[in-house]
């Protein structure tokens, strides 16, 4: 009821305040190839044929918004989404704009958009979760609980919604309920360190210091539960920057999602095949996962790109060693050390020398 009333008010406000001219998108200073891609998308949206349907024009602005959002240009993505919404009130653009607002800490505007989105996309749990989270940040605890409960009604396995509901319960000093919510979240995603930390806090509030200590010990990282968000995944696909995928790979690796990490590296290498560091990073992951054949192929590529790279010969040595080719490994590590005598290479050299004693 509360949301519906707000939605009507905001909907009226959107209509009344809709700008008649497009918001300018500031693209100066960005690097190629993204500069060309973004400029072309901007031009296309700006010069949309008058005969195009509002939906198509809105899509052009919306896609530009996604492109910009994928590159962390949140201020500009907000402008692009706003232009899209001028053409057509599409909840997709409102939703993505709400996330961009959130990235800039503009919580109130994020909430306004999310309220409208939840009124039209009532069945999507993740959107209700995001609304609940934003409301909580704004200190609107009762409304946050309502939104999070709705999210969990739609998807009871949404660990992050359980955890955020617990946050709301903690603010209301409902520690027993919070503990139950967190335990539920922990059962779903035990690898998320934030759940364990909150459980430690709640146990402390409940007076069980031993349990608190135990949960603190289980806080192995500071990650939140993983959120599967199809819309944001779509945004990610608009990235043309390998750094985006490298960050994604690191995050995936840290939470133990190895296949995602490898896939993210592959995306980065596809975008920037000459990037030595990405090739080395990918090789490192492959060797850790004992996927030596794939590692060797990557090293072949790396050798073509940069034959005098110390890490190329270091990993060659690692692969040779795995194949029991000790002499070849020794030659490779000597090359590696001649180029860059890193401690890692020196250690491997010692290891190989030990093995050579038994030849």
């Amino acid at each position: 009821m509360l949301f519906r009333a707000r939605f009507i008010l905001i909907a009226i406000a959107v209509v009344l305040t809709t700008p008649q001219t497009a918001n300018e998108i500031y693209l100066e200073g960005i690097e190629e190839p993204f500069a060309t891609i973004a400029s072309a998308a901007y031009e296309a949206a700006l010069k949309s044929d008058v005969n195009l349907s509002p939906e198509l024009v809105a899509n052009r602005w919306g896609e530009l918004g996604m492109l910009l959002q994928a590159h962390n240009m949140h201020e500009q993505s907000i402008a692009a989404y706003s232009n899209a919404l001028t053409e057509l009130s599409d909840p997709r653009w409102l939703y993505l704009r709400s996330i961009a607002y959130g990235e800039l800490g503009r919580v109130g505007e994020s909430i306004d958009d999310l309220i409208v989105v939840t009124s039209t996309m009532r069945e999507v749990a993740i959107i209700w979760y995001r609304l609940g989270q934003a409301l909580l940040k704004a200190g609107r605890v009762a409304e946050a609980k309502e939104a999070l409960t709705t999210a969990l009604t739609l998807d009871e396995d949404l660990a992050i919604a359980h955890m955020t509901l617990a946050d709301a319960q903690i603010l209301d000093a409902e520690f027993v309920n919070a503990k139950a919510s967190l335990q539920h979240a922990y059962r779903l995603q035990p690898q998320a360190g934030q759940i364990a930390y909150r459980l430690a806090s709640v146990e402390r509030e409940l007076g069980d210091l031993n349990a608190s200590q135990m949960w603190l010990g289980r806080r192995v990282n500071q990650f939140s539960p993983v959120v599967e968000d199809p819309m944001l995944s779509l945004v990610a696909q608009y990235s043309t920057n390998p750094t985006f995928f490298i960050s994604a790979a690191r995050r995936a690796w840290e939470r133990g999602d190895r296949e995602t990490a490898l896939e993210a590296y592959r995306q980065a290498i596809a975008l920037e095949p000459q990037n030595v560091q990405n090739l080395i990073g990918y090789t490192r992951l492959l060797t850790v996962l004992n996927r030596y054949d794939e590692a060797e192929k990557t090293l072949d590529t790396l050798e073509q790109v940069s034959p005098n790279e110390g890490m190329l010969w270091y990993f060659r040595a690692v692969v040779f060693l795995e194949k029991d080719l000790v002499l070849e490994a020794q030659n490779a590590i000597e090359k590696a050390i001649a180029i860059d005598p890193t401690p890692e290479a020196r250690n491997l050299e010692r290891e190989i020398a030990e093995l050579r004693k038994y030849d």
Partner: protein, 579 residues
């Protein structure tokens, strides 16, 4: 907590000196709109209910300082971290002087370099006036400055100064009216990137020891690689691109001769990117502990193990990460008994998208994150906070909060308008409602300027009993915000000011409180905020109570003393009695 009646814009007769054409032309400007309301105050009776008000007086007070970051478009992270400001009575005339930290060029630091500046307070009456005495006082502080620490390191009764720099830190010994820079004797020779520091007697020997929060390694400029975020626009590299450096604990072995005991005392066992520091008894065991605000890392709580060892205990104490278990980009820190339950609470400022965090002391040395409950979180997500101070803005008896903001990520809207540095934000004042919450008040000159604020120091510059603020801005002018707040009756609230002395110097670490139902714990200190140093005097806001108060003091030695029937609306110098 006062009734807020009608407009709360401040009345100030000093702002009436505007011609009608100027007044008319100013209508489109927000600043001028506020002034217009001041003008209206002269003729509209209900405006006398105005209470919280400040005047920005730097220029008219004779302070022309402008910070130079050395930025030349290369986006060196170093250029956006400085600098702070200190308030100290260096010449012992009872008036607070201002020490402003300067940066200068980064690329070529040869030739005639700009120095830190010292402004002597020559105020007579209520109109603030300062005189630049930098040369006369022998400053010559020409390092690339970050922060300033104040305190009497040789117990000779005057305030010495330690400047924290990118490079070697410096001790300025005060010989009454002149400073002498001393480096060699004080083991400040290590070349680090230091930002904030604290002087406190950590081992109870009567000499003030020095803790320095060091930030991180920074490569030679010629090797610096510009960072491009996912936007692929050139920007400032995040701290995670650089290795952290350990903080330093320097033990005062007498007369301001320091010895580095970081390893020996356990401080060097952990390293992160330190930006802010406060010293206080944070676990109730009666001895001072050290709290360090770390950038993009868990914060440190160094628990004093008897004056010769410190153990890091932030995680168990609930102050390493926020209530969600996430480390944040901590910059500034302030400690005070915000909820008046006679224990210290901590407030930390953070980057955008993170909230500022209020850690409230619960019991037995642990804290809980009450950022949302207190009302401080919601409006902090869109700002990047640095310096911060708890202070009683209108002397109504409870603590309010000021936050100096300035982004570290470039703001597109400002870039597009060619604004340099494109990091400007407004500062924030939060007023204590008295019901466990703060409310933002953006109607004063404190929130008027879009600057890249970094440090803020508090102190009573005009000795009228209320706290004035001095805000330092990266690549911008120093702001002197004179507090002209009044009560709901149009008069200033009553107050009691004390300077507590022991061993011939300010009694850092002494705890004082007024007799009564509410016991707010106030501590003599100059540390806290970001890279800045405060007035060590304590001011107790008394509201409209004219009763002569009784003050209790627990001296750093552990001795207690009571001072009864103190006259109000004036300062007292109270010295520890020999017992």
């Amino acid at each position: 907590m006062f009734l807020r009646v009608g407009l709360i814009y401040p009345c100030s007769h000093n702002n009436l000196a505007m011609t009608f054409p100027q007044f008319k032309a100013s209508l489109l400007d927000r600043t001028r709109r506020v002034q217009m309301l001041w003008f209206a105050c002269a003729i509209i009776p209900f405006c006398v209910n105005a209470e919280i008000a400040f005047r920005e007086v730097a220029t008219e007070a004779g302070v022309d300082f402008v910070h130079e970051s050395g930025a030349i478009g290369m986006r060196w992270t170093l250029e956006i971290t400085g600098a702070g400001v200190g308030l100290l009575d260096y010449d012992g005339d009872g008036k607070l002087d201002i020490w402003v930290v300067q940066g200068g060029p980064l690329k070529d630091r040869t030739g005639d370099l700009p120095s830190d500046r010292l402004y002597r307070n020559i105020t007579e009456g209520s109109e603030l006036k300062f005189q630049d005495v930098t040369k006369a006082a022998g400053l010559g502080a020409d390092s690339y400055g970050m922060g300033v620490v104040t305190g009497d390191v040789d117990n000779d009764g005057d305030v010495d100064v330690i400047t924290l720099n990118f490079g070697r830190n410096q001790l300025f010994r005060n010989w009454g009216t002149r400073f002498e820079m001393r480096v060699d004797e004080v083991h400040l020779k290590r070349s680090e990137w230091s930002i904030s520091g604290s002087l406190a007697d950590l081992n109870g020997d009567g000499w003030l020891d020095l803790f320095v929060a060091n930030y991180m390694e920074f490569p030679p400029l010629e090797k610096y690689k510009v960072c491009r975020r996912l936007s692929t626009r050139k920007g400032y590299c995040a701290p995670s691109n650089f290795d952290p450096t350990p903080d330093q604990l320097l033990l005062n072995e007498g007369n301001g001769v320091f010895r580095d005991v970081s390893k020996e005392f356990g401080i060097a066992s952990a390293r992160e990117r330190g930006m802010g520091v406060v010293v206080d008894d944070l676990n109730g065991d009666g001895v001072p502990d050290i709290y360090v605000a770390n950038d993009m890392a868990m914060n440190f709580l160094w628990v004093n193990q008897g004056g010769s060892q410190f153990a890091e205990d932030a995680l168990l104490s609930g102050v390493a990460v926020n209530g969600h278990g996430m480390r944040e980009a901590s910059m500034g820190v302030s400690v005070a008994d915000w909820d008046q339950d006679f224990d210290p609470d901590l407030f930390l400022t953070h980057d955008i998208k993170e909230s500022n965090t209020l850690y409230v002391y619960e019991h037995a040395g642990w804290f809980s994150d009450q950022s949302i409950q207190s009302g401080l979180a919601p409006s902090s997500f869109s700002k990047t906070g640095f310096g911060t101070v708890f202070f009683d803005v209108e002397n109504d008896g409870d603590l309010d909060l000021f936050i100096a903001n300035g982004s570290v990520s470039m703001i597109d809207a400002q870039l597009a308008k060619r604004i340099e540095p494109p990091l400007r934000q407004t500062n924030q004042l939060f007023v204590n409602t008295g019901a466990g919450k703060f409310e933002e008040n953006d109607a004063t000159t404190l929130s008027q300027f879009e600057d890249v604020s970094r440090g803020v120091a508090m102190g009573d510059l005009d000795n009228d009993g209320d706290v004035d603020l001095v805000v330092s801005n990266n690549d911008g002018p120093l702001r002197i915000q004179q507090n002209i707040s009044t009560s709901t009756h149009g008069e200033a609230n009553h107050w009691l000011g004390v300077r507590l002395l022991t061993l011939g110097r300010d009694a850092f670490g002494a705890v004082a409180w007024l007799e009564g139902d509410i016991k707010e714990r106030k501590v003599v200190r100059t540390d806290g905020s970001y890279a800045s140093a405060h007035d060590p005097r304590l001011i107790f806001g008394l509201g409209d109570s004219a009763t002569l108060p009784t003050l209790h003091v627990k001296w750093p030695s552990g001795a207690n003393q009571t001072f009864s029937n103190l006259a109000i609306d004036r300062y007292h110098v109270l010295t520890q009695s020999e017992q």
